[in-house]
Symmetry: C2
Subunit: 382 residues, 2 copies
Amino acid sequence: MGEFMTETQPRPAGARPSTETLERRRSITTETDGRPGPLDGPEAAVILERARASVDPELRAAVESLPGALRRIALYHFGWEHLDGTPAAGNAGKAIRPALVLTAAAALGGPAARAAAVPAAVAVELVHNFTLLHDDVMDRDTTRRHRPTAWTVFGDADAILAGDALQALALRLLAEDPHPASGAAAARLAACVVELCAGQQADTAMEKRAPGEVGLDEVLAMAEAKTGALLGCACAVGALYAGAADEDVAALDAFGREAGLAFQLIDDVIGIWGDPSRTGKPAGADLTARKKSLPVVAALTSGGPAAAELAALYEAPYGEGDEEEVARTALAVERAGGRDWAQAQAADRMARAMQELARAVPDPEEAGGLLALAEFVTRRSN
Amino acid sequence: MGEFMTETQPRPAGARPSTETLERRRSITTETDGRPGPLDGPEAAVILERARASVDPELRAAVESLPGALRRIALYHFGWEHLDGTPAAGNAGKAIRPALVLTAAAALGGPAARAAAVPAAVAVELVHNFTLLHDDVMDRDTTRRHRPTAWTVFGDADAILAGDALQALALRLLAEDPHPASGAAAARLAACVVELCAGQQADTAMEKRAPGEVGLDEVLAMAEAKTGALLGCACAVGALYAGAADEDVAALDAFGREAGLAFQLIDDVIGIWGDPSRTGKPAGADLTARKKSLPVVAALTSGGPAAAELAALYEAPYGEGDEEEVARTALAVERAGGRDWAQAQAADRMARAMQELARAVPDPEEAGGLLALAEFVTRRSN
């Protein structure tokens, strides 16, 4: 369910980033991004580092509380242990979701709310990782954060059980948190899990159907459930911990959802036209896999000769590494308007996200952190 | 994770049992049981029917709240829908766990506590069914409650996702329950899920190891986690909803755990020496499957010639349907003391359960319902 491919460099868990690291990141961000703005890159990197530093000790303590084998599987998944149980540098992803929780809490309730929201940020990250463990089993994905996925090394049963346990840990953490918002946050996070499951279910079901049978609305709904829901929930939970009014909680949820959809649209564009040297995948990997990504479905449902050509290409099995056919398919998606549509949609979603954010957090300075995170998530181009 | 094989007859969901049904059940219980006592059979059947009637409407409403395909999978799993989506008679198991929640609440807090504990009873039943869905995937079990398991008809991904959603639903229900005990109950139920996962993990890992490498203590610990933990949690959650003191909550947890272990010991005895016409499985099915059940591990670790003979038999692959070898293996388990040990252990566990129950609920009349349920669970012989 929606992982951001950009990964931080491994570093010892809990270590503060050196100035050098931040500098290197800043230059990478600027370089791969191509359009540095006042709000992206550096500020987001600092926010993400701060979130990781706030969240890691509690996150790790929660994972360490698991009994025996479940702990080993989870520590491996989070990148804190090698397969043989020796300590690893830690490579537990970008912490986008915990950062959204903490930054939303800070935007609406200041530093005290940010500090109080750490257990909620940990819970959201545990849920995210539960879905990664299970999605990898279902999708037969073999690599996660540059390492073999848990199911490939421990087997399906262990990966499923570790995921189950992480979901339980997340909701236990909130149930044990005395903060007055913890109950509402738990209810919201549990409802979000149902939505994430529905999104993953729709995705796996859709991939089995013929390309012509899939509508654009349902792919958008699937992407919102699979990717937008947890980003929205992270922001909403942060707002709850700040004691925000219902309409502000709802606005922050919508902000996260729209930004999540914008991310997914851009991610899908990169999956077709991304530079292989930056994505680490062969050109047009999503096309070779016949993925019904958003630009593809937009193109297929657009009518006209390019849509018909694309449909015919998607019906035929690919020859392995047939670059010419990949190029023809990408061109058909583009000619049928799939690329333009996705880019316009992404811009539109980001505009809506900004509107929602401005509604809940009118002061641009206070909204700056959330804006930076949204820009970071959607502007990355690798 | 520990399902009781005795299943109620299908009946329309929510329908009250007819006198005839109760009569038939009473006679079945007496007949198969062989040692009717004042506390088993009929009273337990009435308690289970009442629990089902109290819990089914909320349980069904929770499942119906799931979106689209997840709802269909869950309704099928619970026996409320056929595969084609038409209504089914309902065959959602015995409701032992919800009955324990409600009966514990009543024993410690009277009828008002029982009524208030319905959401908690629903949550426990949702967790139980989440584990069934996932265990069936991992164990490749093809039949559940006389029907094909969910993964065999919907596929692994759908069964995993429906299970994930049921866990979330359970914890959402408690998070949304305004009862003062709901937070403590959620924390306890989530901790129990971790224990259930650890038990299932230990079980699947154990089955891959050589028979001589498995110790009796670890099989007992596994059985307690896999079967005892949720029965204990059900009782503890009921006590929490009755506003019971910590030590009474702990005593009821221990009561449920010990009764659960007694059940597992007896279930394992039946898995070897049960009457095939009653179990519905071939004689010695657990031996043919080389299951490291409690009597087998007790026998293997007992030392002496019968243990050595059993170890040799367990190393060799069975010829299909080789009745003579099944009989020899069963005899080796018996000679090595596995049967006697399991029966003595079961009696011992039941005695401990009774002690714990008497500690928390000294009045025999108030304790009667829980006693009847424990007897029901452990005395069944089919």
